[in-house]
Amino acid sequence: MLLVLSEEHKEHLGFLTQVDSAVVGEFGRIAVEFLRKGTNPKIYEGAARKLNVSSDVIQHGVEGLTYLLTEGSKLMISEIDFQDSVLVLGFSEELNKLLLQLYLDNRKEIRSILGELAPKLPSYHSLEWRLDVQLASRSLRQQIKPAVTIKLHLDQNGDQTTKILQTDPATLLHLIQQLEQALGEMKTNHCRRIVRNIK
């Protein structure tokens, strides 16, 4: 699968031919840093002054590079496809190699950042448990009522929430049985076949 680049995009990336490879490498580093932490316009101004161009040009160059990297990572295109996509820009051999290296070096990290953008439910973080025995209450004395108290830690969008839950021994065994069945499902032929064939 090839990346389709718009005319505007090609124009923005065109700036990269006017600077040496060290600068392109630097732009690549800035692009990934922006993906990790968000954009910082001051960096554009600094670079613009050093290279004697307007900060818009720098911004477009970095953004173009970012788009190239994120689209490639999102679609998980192969080396060859990436090279072919970039060929259409008419860059030098050296620049093409540099861009490819930038893509391959950062692909995994960019994919994990993109993965965090998907809609999500709270996810499991960890679980603590405690065994309690209720001995008496206001309405009934002399009891022996075992219970398991559970503290469930969940993550949602970076926030950790905690839920305190309780269950009785019979339900606990039932939960274990049901969830073990769930785990077993991945090993069935049906699931194995699907995992093997969807690529």
Binding site: E128, W129, L131, R141, Q142, K163, I176, L183, V195
Partner: protein
């Protein structure tokens, strides 16, 4: 078993065969138990023909006294001798004490169950359901290809009302971690029960 003045005086009236004939006593006793144990009994059958001739205020007093006595006995898991002593102090004759104790014995387990279920507790897990999915792509990321589980715990409030379920997603490793920890809890329960 400590009973208040009000309850004791009510029981004393109940003990009096001048006020309550044997059949009236039997009916009131049964009514008292039913009103405590039967959830549908909002219309307490105090309008039984046998009780017709007794003053309604007196009836309510005695019914409340009997019910309180039953609850106190249940709360403290009183044995026959404790109940007998208490009723003797309220001037019950041997026969009426026997009747009370027999009726109590019949309903003791249900009573303890109901008393035991009153109280606060954290959200109680009643069931679990799960879903296994294989993720293929998202709008931001294609070819993700990983399995994920969605687990929903059905929970109930302390007054048996249902509460929105607790749902969360997890990977296979996380689910294994979860199940492992639950199994530890179960093992420790088993060990504790053997002590």
């Amino acid at each position: 078993m400590e009973l208040s003045e009000y309850v004791q005086s009510g029981l004393q009236i109940l003990a009096d065969s001048g006020c309550f004939s044997p059949s009236a006593y039997t009916v009131l006793l049964q009514t008292a138990f039913q009103s405590l144990l039967n959830a549908q009994a909002d219309q307490v059958a105090l309008d039984h023909p046998v009780l017709k001739h007794i003053d309604p205020t007196v009836l309510k007093h005695c019914h409340a006294a009997a019910a309180t006595c039953i609850l106190e006995a249940g709360k403290h898991k009183a044995d026959k001798s404790a109940i007998s002593t208490c009723l003797e102090d309220c001037k019950f004759d041997r026969e009426r004490i026997e009747q009370f104790c027999t009726e109590y014995q019949k309903n003791k387990d249900t009573l303890e169950l109901i008393l035991g279920s009153i109280g606060r507790c954290p959200l109680h897990i009643t069931d679990v359901s799960w879903r296994l999915e294989y993720q293929i792509k998202t709008s931001q990321l294609h070819k993700t290809y990983r399995p994920a589980y969605l687990v929903t715990l059905n929970v109930e409030n302390s007054d048996s009302r249902s509460h929105p379920d607790v749902s969360f997603s997890c990977t296979m490793e996380q689910l294994q971690d979860l199940v492992g920890k639950l199994k530890d809890a179960a093992k420790s329960l088993e060990r504790a029960s053997q002590m």
